[in-house]
Amino acid sequence: MLIKNNDIINSIAEALQYISIYHSNDFIQAMVEACNKEESRPAKDAIQQILTSSKMSALGKRPLCQDTGIVTVFVEVGMGIQLEGNHTIEDLINQGVSNAYLDQSNPLRASIVNDPLALRKNTGDNTPAVIHTKLVKGDKITFKVAAKGGGSENKAHLKMMNPSDDLVEYILKLIPTLGAGWCPPGVLGIGVGGTAEKAVLMAKESLMDPINIQELIVRGPENRAEELRIELYDKVNRLGIGAQGLGGLTLSSMLRSKIIQLMPHHCRWRLFQIVLQHDIFIFHWTGQEKLT
């Protein structure tokens, strides 16, 4: 199956424009739920401002946040496909990123600097993206595209844990130390197992899953990871941190975190935990699926 270069470039650009403007429905629903539940006046006011701002963005077709992120793409390349010509997947994605960020109908903020240790010169078109590629069976290529804001990315943690350590206890101690720069209410992504870099990657990818914590609570947990999600959802919200760290009931009202697990080395389990900005831009498509 031949995949045309322009189809990849245009799809990446269109996805980035789309996620800069629109929140996903599951996120809006979770925010509305948080808003209804919240009893703290300043926290509720903040959530209402976010919801109204989000609606204004959808109507005005302008970015949800001034930080339009660092582009992060998970690619699954089916081994049955063929790419045109002699371009790498990275080249094609970066061309899509450049087109999206320089789009004159809705220019996005370029936030990437070159030579970070010295000159720190802005690359001007938000390239390069951070790209993770996997080869899989099949005749299609799948992209999961996120534009990750700095406020939440700066709160990422990697912890090398001992087998006897308590994951929940660690997270509950950590979160109050993170402050409010990640614009709560937000989403936690957790990856457990593997090696240091694998745990980080799993945590990041877990953020691409749908927010389904309320369904999970209704259905009941079916495994240890789901039990942990429910326990963390409840305990994290009981910390009292609230929207924007102002105090309140809904810190992480949606907890997108699918906890991804991998077989760890027998004497160590690894944990990585990302706290995500409330408006992580996530977009996922495969084949002809349409996002509505």
Binding site: L2, I3, K4, D7, E14, A15, Y18, S24, N25, Q29, V32, C35, P42, D45, Q49, I50, T52, S53, S54, K55, M56, S57, A58, R62, P63, L64, Q66, D67, I81, N106, P107, L108, R109, D139, K140, I141, T142, F143, G150, G151, N154, P176, G179, A180, G181, C183, L239, G240, I241, Q244, G245, L246, G247, L249, Q277, W285, G287, Q288, L291, T292
Partner: protein, 214 residues
């Protein structure tokens, strides 16, 4: 993608949004930034919601770093900070008839290391998002300044309160340049008041007790 063309995306439905839009609290105190002094700010308490009117300067990491080097070299700043308010923001470029693109606050905590230098220049207040560190809180108290927060994530709504924008210094820094914004009813909350009370310390503490009592 399976070779049959690029993706097609339809805008999502807006039905999930609440029907009532957020509106500024008409009882909120309006502050005239161009005619205010340290003693006018004395009555403000952490947690108060305000609507800001007048002019503010913007600066974030790169502009702070450059101002710090100029100060350490004994040089004048390109714009006086005396009695001004600084908004930590790196806006999106405007289109069409916009004054400025989305322009929500960035994390103020990153600017803590410059607090001493900048407060010494005589600023009255800072606007950003998230908590300040203990040393900055003490400095705010000592200098009789205030720290206010806008809502992180409400960038487009906040930008609509900006009625004029011009770059006044460090133009080569792009979105990190120093702008002067004129604002009308920009919604903020006092996060650190002149007494050194911080809503990010008090708020969660209060709510943790409330939750435990439930």
């Amino acid at each position: 993608m399976d070779g049959s063309g690029k993706i097609n995306l339809d805008p999502p439905s807006l039905d999930s949004y609440p029907s009532d839009d957020w509106m500024p609290d008409m009882n909120a105190l309006r502050i005239d930034l161009n005619n205010t002094s340290k003693s006018d700010l004395e009555k403000l308490n952490a947690g108060d919601t305000l609507l800001l009117n007048g002019t503010i300067l913007t600066a974030r990491d790169a502009a702070h770093k450059r101002m710090a080097s100029l100060i350490s070299e004994g040089k004048d700043l390109p714009v006086s900070l005396k009695n001004r308010f600084i908004y930590y923001v790196g806006p999106v470029d405007p289109i069409a008839d916009e004054v400025v693109g989305p322009a929500g606050p960035t994390t103020a905590t990153r600017m803590d290391k410059f607090s001493d230098l900048i407060l010494n220049q005589g600023i009255l207040g800072m606007i950003g998002k998230a908590e300040r560190g203990p040393e900055t809180i003490e400095l705010i108290k000592d200098n009789k300044a205030v720290y206010m927060i806008a809502v992180g994530g409400a960038a487009f709504l906040v930008s609509k309160a900006i009625t004029k924008a011009k770059k006044v210094a460090f133009e080569d820094l792009g979105m990190e340049a120093i702008y002067e914004f004129e604002v009308k009813d920009m919604p903020v909350t006092i996060a650190v008041d002149q007494k050194g009370k911080s809503i990010h310390q008090e708020g969660p503490k209060k709510w943790q007790i409330k939750i435990e009592e439930k």
